[in-house]
Amino acid sequence: MKKIVIIGNGISGITAARHIRKMSNHAITVISAETDHFFSRTALMYIYMGHMKYEHTKPYEDWFWEKNKIDLVRDFVISIDTDRQKLELQNGRGVAYDELIIATGSRPNKFGWPGQDLDGVQGMYSFQDLENMEVYTKNINRAVIVGGGLIGIEMAEMLLSRNIPVTFLVRESSFWNKILPAEESEMVNRLIRSHHVDLRLVTEMKDILADKNGRARAVVTTDGEEIPCQFVGLTAGVSPNIDMVKASKIHVDRGVVVNKYFETSVPNVYSIGDCAQFETALPNRKSIEQVWYTGRMHGEIVAKTICGKKTAYQPGPWFNSAKFFDVEYQVYGDVKNEMLDSEDCLYWEHENGQHSIRIVFNKSTKALLGINLMGVRYRHEVCDRWLQQGATIKEVVGNLKKANFDAEFYKEYEDEILKVYNSKFPEETLKSTGKRGLFAVFNQ
């Protein structure tokens, strides 16, 4: 029986703990300074909006941890002594480990803006960020959000739920266009504006001005415009939260450097989730993976290694999801913001500008590369299988209804993409397979 200590009770650390418990009898301790129990970080916005309370965001009831002999410690790790295999906690206690997993997640980027540490200036990542936002958005006239990513648009939605006018500064020429292709990115621009957000593209923040109490009172843009506001959301990405690791002997770069087994430079120390940085990124993937799903996947794999079955991280096809106001986004496989010369795609967009389907494939082999969906739900299992098998665009379009995952009675758009296919490949047209519907149950 080994003593496993996990720093961080987010999705990565907790997944690792659960899987280690399932596979072994090791002693497991999870240390977190953030909350007593695991909660879903992605749901913080819904607490602010009043859809849920904190207790609803906890995926497991509080008795779960004791029952599964997972010891939870609420404290902050100040230092890691890898020679003596010991952690020092803020309350002065020391914690010894046989194996250590660092899963400390991220923190919002701050790029040295003047005024970035004023009251009312913050990111939106931790539970404490939520508490601060609750305090600093009371009775205010305007908020400015800086940085056009997923957290930025979620923060805009949060503020609008409290009827707070929002100015949204985005450095790029279109929202999230380093990830989204132009049409989808433009769709999100329209969505943001339709919710009466003052969206400023190609605009950066130069300065945050303080009032006499040390609280933000305005933002100055690089154009020199001063925008009065009482709250500034910093959402220009996140970076690994590894201050206490930097002081240790563990090798760090931007994140804690790990190999494909999540092993760090020091024996018996692993790192997973947002704070880990692969020494060599996997093909078509980033060296630091900062989404919920990868955090979970890292936790699953490191647990195997720790339980004696050394396993390399070998993720299946990429997938991700988000929600831009009322429009859901899903991606399966590799969809770049700008296609390579070797790539081609089918794209269809609804005339109301709230649904689109993009299917990217290899020009010469016709093999499926990725699917991008706005306002349409597709079936992960089917898309994953097509991607792994390298299904051709013809197979995909011909069987697209099998991939649809929208609720019953929803309008079906697969025939629209079929038309796009037929006009692109007039020599080998496909026929519609008809609608699903109420009596489809008798055909299965």
Partner: protein, 596 residues
């Protein structure tokens, strides 16, 4: 503009609601000779006439004192009749003495004629019933006078006890009497202007509510509208929720047990009752009317709130239709045609009195239509439930057709997030709902046994006792007072989840032999918890979704809200092949997935 409509609607709603509540005190009451005379003929009504004499002509300004006096009068009428027919227990001893036969005591009927001769009407009846009740003692030998005397005393006591329902007003008819006499004795502004007061109460409530909903939801993009639900005092068990819950609980207690205090509300719907079925309204008509309008008005709110979600729109239209047409209008029309007021979509054992003798008798006396209803009702139980549930899951009934489900999905929608999701609640739910099913089956077996055999005792337990306890505990307290009254406190499906015996039956089919499931979309779940929070049945949907497992639960009513509120498109209600439906978790992500 929308804001003004919304606020105006709220004001109208509040005015209407206040008028509605105050209207209960708007009448004066005066009992007349004529009203008493209309109640019926016979000895007990003559006694009633006599007992109510002091009340006649007296003007009461509150129904509380009126009802108090009326109940006293009925009690005294009952007492005068019972006193008149009561047989003195002392005669038992006298009869026993007269039965002495040497050193034994042998009972012969003739002794009754000696002690209680049939002189005059009362004595004749007493004489006759004593003979009936002692028939089994004829010729029996007793060793002591006391033994025989005890037997006779107990016979006399039985006769005396039966007088209250044989000769006088029993509890049930006394209740009806108080209700109809109070209603008929109402006087004053309300009765003089029923249509006006109907408009000022029901009318303003309905118009106000609709305006509020249109103002809230029109011109808002389609999508999830759950902002501030856990900050609102109405929807998060705050003070408004507690007040509303208290009001609803009180409403159900009065409706079931003290309807005589609600006669003003019943008067308001009298004109509608006359139009629909040709007769005056009862408190059950009032309830049916309020129920139907609650489903319809709050159904419109549901349509507006989920505009853009086809599943919710069609489902909500369905529950409104079934409540309005099938449960309310058609039975009323049937009654006006002198046919059984049958609700074609109500299924035993939710329709717990379907096999009660009065219902069976009525159906069998109503010609072809009655027999059709009888067979239709049985076919629903043994064919429709298993077959349709196999193909579509129990949702076809619970969230598309059922009246209780209809109310829960419309009036109850603002409270769905208040259901308890804990594992403990699930454990309680499982034994409780199945216990009610067993109780419902025992109750039905008992009443059918009585129907066919004529005996009122099954294994030593009185069938009427079983029937009465089911009616009180389950049908009134559980389904009504708790099931609906507690919407703002415990969520909108308390009855459906913990009590409904039909839901238990449908659930067994759904769990073990059905094509229905909620599919989890591979590895897309982010454990946010919206699905579990908004599950009215208290299913921890997320627990399944985050491990990539399909949700197959006997309690799931297939309302589809988990799928609607999911921000990542992870959940889909669907009917598919049985194979693989119950498979364990298959979380997509890593190439090599450990099934944990």
């Amino acid at each position: 503009m929308e804001k003004y409509i919304k606020n105006a609607g709220l004001v109208l709603f509040i005015i209407g609601f206040v008028v509605f509540v105050l209207s209960l005190s708007l009448s004066d009451y005066q009992l007349t000779d004529k009203i008493v005379g209309q109640q019926g003929e016979g000895e007990k009504y003559e006694a009633l006439q006599k007992a109510t004499k002091p009340m006649e002509g007296k003007l009461y300004d509150s129904n509380i004192s009126f009802i108090r006096d009326l109940k006293k009068a009925i009690k005294s009428a009952n007492k005068s009749i019972i006193d008149k027919y009561t047989i003195a227990e002392e005669i038992a001893s006298e009869m026993a003495l007269k039965s002495m036969d040497g050193d034994k005591f042998v009972f012969r009927k003739s002794v009754i004629d000696e002690v209680l001769p049939a002189n005059g009407d009362v004595a004749t009846e007493q004489n006759k019933s004593l003979k009936d009740f002692t028939g089994w003692l004829e010729g029996k030998e007793f060793s002591s006078r006391k033994e025989l005397s005890d037997q006779l005393t107990s016979a006399i006591q039985n006769i005396n006890n039966s007088l209250s329902y044989q000769k006088a007003f029993d509890d049930y008819s006394a209740k009806n009497l108080v209700f109809s006499m109070t209603k008929a004795s109402s006087l004053g502004v309300l009765k003089g202007n029923i249509k006006l007061w109907f408009f000022l109460s029901f009318g303003l409530v309905i118009i106000g509510a609709l305006a509020y909903f249109f103002g809230t939801y029109s011109n808002v993009p389609a999508g999830i509208k759950n902002n501030h639900i856990f900050m609102d005092a109405l929807t998060s068990r705050g003070w408004i929720g507690v007040i509303l819950g208290t009001f609803m609980i009180a409403f159900y207690i009065f409706l079931y047990f003290y309807p005589e205090y609600l006669t003003n509300w019943v008067l308001l719907v009298d004109p509608i009752s006359y139009k629909l079925n040709g007769g005056p309204a009862s408190h059950w008509f009032l309830y049916g009317f309020m129920y139907t309008f609650a489903v319809s008005v709050m159904g419109i709110r549901m349509l507006l709130k989920y505009w853009g979600n086809a599943y919710q729109l069609i489902r909500t239209a369905s529950v409104i239709f079934f409540q309005f047409a099938i449960a309310f209008i058609i039975p009323e029309i049937l009654i006006s045609l002198n046919k059984p007021g049958y609700d074609f979509k109500n299924i035993w054992p939710l329709d717990y009195d379907f096999f009660y003798n009065y219902n069976l008798d009525q159906l069998m006396e109503s010609g072809f239509l009655g027999w059709f209803m009888l067979f239709w009702g049985i076919a629903l139980i043994i064919i429709a439930v298993p077959v349709i549930t196999y193909f579509y899951g129990k949702r076809w009934y619970c969230s598309w057709v059922c009246g209780c489900g209809g109310l829960a999905e419309t009036l109850g929608d603002p409270f769905r997030q208040l259901s308890d999701k804990s594992l403990k609640a699930w454990k309680i739910e499982r034994w409780m709902i199945h216990a009610v099913l067993v109780f419902a089956v025992i109750n039905t077996v008992a009443v059918l046994y009585t129907f066919f055999s004529g005996s009122y005792s099954l294994f030593g337990i009185g069938t009427e006792t079983i029937k009465a306890s089911y009616g009180f505990l389950i049908a009134s307290i559980f389904a009504g007072v708790v099931g609906t009254g507690f919407y703002p406190l415990m969520g909108n499906r308390v009855w459906c989840r913990f009590g409904c015996p039909l839901a238990a039956y449908l659930g067994m089919v759904q769990r073990f032999k059905s094509r229905f499931r909620i599919t989890t979309n591979g590895g897309q779940c982010i454990s946010c918890g919206n699905c579990s929070t908004y599950c009215e049945m208290g299913i921890d949907v997320r627990w399944y979704a985050q491990r990539g497992q399909n949700i197959v639960r006997s309690s799931c009513v297939g309302c589809g809200i988990c799928s609607a509120v999911c921000p990542r498109g992870v959940l889909k209600l669907e009917n598919g092949p049985e194979e693989g439906r119950l498979d364990v978790a298959n979380l997509i992500g890593n190439k090599e997935v450990e099934k944990v």
